[in-house]
């Protein structure tokens, strides 16, 4: 119980003071993973051997009194859509079940460079398409707060493993809310950085103009420390933006005096559960009492974000997933004819939700419908982006619920449109390429509720400042799922 609940700073200090070795620490977390995985099932792959080898190397450095970085020697895990050389990367799909990448994603390389000890790969909705991790091609993951409930998705494994204290931090990816919504459902901190702030090289593509990698952690400070390690321009990703990367910990100030907060009224309708609204209104009031200036504002085109997203994301997905043809990598179904081979391979390799989105996207891009759907959606995307530009002329941060409800039960919702609606507050942020963070803001019937803070492009700093202040003045992040105390 002691170790697994510690912050990155505390674990680092223990390593530096030689109170524990990286090998001991890694073993401790691996044991906890073994004790919890039967219930949580957050991991698709556990890399015990390579993890212990990496830890042993760091212990040699520590023994020689060499300086170690803040993440060095600490266990970490990645969503299974980030390439890891020599370690299976399935994307939660049967079609990539046996795929072993020949190279590391940039985020993988950066974490290795920072000395993080990779203990495994995490479950997800197949190709990151879903909001509950029920669409994994392998098995669903459970929410550590209630095993009968979903952890959210698509980065469900990334959120559930942090909530279950199986690893100090993880990376997830977010195309329409896939870091923030599971972070909210599992009571952890999840940041979707500005589009272009973190390299997508080696991230298996879903919707390239929306995908972004970000950290999931127990606390806001841990989150900033991980972002420090993974953010930055990458020549290997032409959509990554050259910008002056700050030390994100400099923004961790317990002070929101004078901070201008906008509360977009459109984010408090559309299926929002009254109990969740109450939690978020209380959260906003807390920040107001701490000196922030709060005002209601309006983003008039928000109701169009959902349909816009469900044209653009499937369109990009249908194009990106054309590569799974059974030729260069992945599963292949045997057939005498080339076209039949393609069709069988994709029919057997992809799950229902992925096929549904490929169909939708192919239709939206097909001759005769392109202007009516795809081009139209791209134009509405401009209007949505302009709405944000207008309000950010007046406010530093926008606040909303992360999701309209807390975690629902596994198998409870089967209608795709109803599931899509759960991302109604997170999707607009991806369409506009903005950074946003979800942090624990309270509980409804024992289930965590997340509050979303949205910032201007490349202003992750103000999100960290506001989130840190909230966290320092509340205790929600200190709550731990009950079953962890049992396996302790």
């Amino acid at each position: 119980m002691g170790l697994i609940n510690k912050s990155i700073d505390d674990l680092h200090t223990m390593l530096v003071k030689k109170e524990i070795s990286s090998t001991e620490l890694t073993k401790e977390f691996l044991t906890h993973i073994k004790n919890t995985e039967a219930k949580v099932r957050a991991f698709l792959t556990i890399t015990e051997e390579t993890a212990l080898a990496a830890a042993a190397k760091i212990d040699e450095k520590i023994a020689k009194n060499e300086t170690i970085g803040i993440l060095e020697g600490l266990p970490a895990a990645l969503k299974d859509n980030m390439c890891t050389e020599g370690i299976a990367t399935t994307c939660g799909s049967r079609i990539l079940e046996n795929f072993v990448p020949p190279y590391d994603a940039t985020v993988t390389a950066k974490l290795k460079e920072a000395g993080a000890v990779l203990v495994g790969k995490l479950n997800m909705d197949e190709f990151a398409m879903g909001s509950s991790t029920e669409n994994s091609g392998f098995f669903p993951t459970s929410n550590p707060w209630d095993m009968k409930r979903v952890p959210g998705g698509s980065s469900g494994g990334s959120a559930a493993s942090v909530a279950a204290r199986e690893v100090p931090f993880t990376l997830g990816s977010d195309t329409g809310g896939s870091i923030r919504q599971p972070a909210a459902f599992c009571g952890v901190v999840g940041l979707k950085p500005t589009y272009g702030a973190v390299s997508r090289y080696g991230l298996v593509a879903f919707a390239s103009s929306l995908d972004q990698i970000g950290p999931l952690t127990k606390t806001v400070r841990d989150n900033a420390l991980v972002l420090n390690a993974v953010a930055g321009h990458d020549p290997k990703d032409s959509t990554s933006v050259p910008f002056n990367k700050p030390d994100y910990t400099q923004f961790l100030e317990n002070n929101v005096k004078g901070l201008k907060i906008g509360v977009p009224k459109e984010f408090f309708g559309l299926g929002l559960q009254p109990e969740v609204e109450k939690v978020i209104r209380n959260g906003i009031q807390t920040l107001q009492e701490l000196g922030a200036e709060v005002e209601e504002c309006s983003l008039p085109h928000m109701e169009y974000a959902m349909p816009t997203y469900y044209i653009i994301a499937p369109a990009e997905c249908s194009s990106n997933l054309a590569r799974y043809d059974g030729v260069r990598y992945g599963y292949r179904a045997e057939a005498d004819d080339m076209i039949d081979m393609f069709k069988d391979t994709r029919a057997k390799g992809f799950g229902q939700e992925v096929k549904r989105r490929i169909m939708l996207g192919t239709y939206a891009l097909s001759s005769g419908y392109y202007d009516a759907y795809y081009l139209k959606a791209q134009k509405v995307r401009t209007l949505i982006k302009q709405d944000f530009d207008k309000v950010f002329a007046r406010y530093d941060v926008l606040i909303s619920p992360t999701a309209p409800t807390p975690a629902y039960k596994i198998g409870e919702i089967s209608d795709p449109l109803t599931i899509y609606m759960g991302d109604v507050y997170t999707i607009p942020v991806n369409l506009a390429g903005l950074p946003a963070i979800s942090l624990p803001a309270g509980f409804v019937n024992g289930l965590p509720v997340g509050m979303q803070l949205i910032g201007k492009h490349f202003d992750e700093g103000v999100l960290y400042r506001a989130a840190y202040t909230f966290e320092q003045n509340t205790d929600y992040h200190k709550e731990i799922p009950a079953f962890i105390k049992e396996v302790g």
Binding site: N98, F99, V100, P102, Y195, S209, P235, T239, V241, H301, Y304, P307, T308, Y310, I311, S318, A322, G326, V327, R328, Y329, G330, Y331, R332, D336, D337, M338, D340, F342, K343, D344, R346, A347, F350, K355, R356, I358, M359, L360, T362, Y363, S366, Y369, Y373, L375, K376, A377, Q378, K379, V380, R381, T382, L383, K385, P416, L417, L431, A432, G433, H457
Partner: protein, 94 residues
């Protein structure tokens, strides 16, 4: 705009997906319900609005045309379902 069962068959061919009868029926129904929802975009006047492909402005990224080492052929072919003599092997095309 309603998508017909016949269109779903055509789209499945374009997407290179072999669908069962059941999937065809299911997708016809589900795509219609999603597209019905998407039809609300028609309510917005977008005359004169330019489309956004990326929320953050992108620029062409150029580099010098220099020869650099690339991945070993063996490594590249390692994940191939079938390979021979340094090539990907596929079923007969013609």
């Amino acid at each position: 705009m309603k998508i017909s069962r016949k269109e779903v068959e055509h789209v499945a061919l374009l997407a290179r997906l072999k669908l069962t009868e059941e999937e065809m029926n299911q997708y016809t129904e589900q795509l219609n319900s999603i597209l019905e929802h998407a039809a609300m975009l028609d309510q917005i006047d977008t005359a004169g609005v330019s489309p956004t492909a990326h929320a953050v402005q992108l620029y062409n990224v150029l580099r010098d045309d220099e020869v650099k080492p690339s991945m070993d052929q063996e490594k590249v072919l390692k994940n191939a379902p079938d390979a021979e003599d340094g090539f990907f092997r596929v079923p007969r095309i013609v």
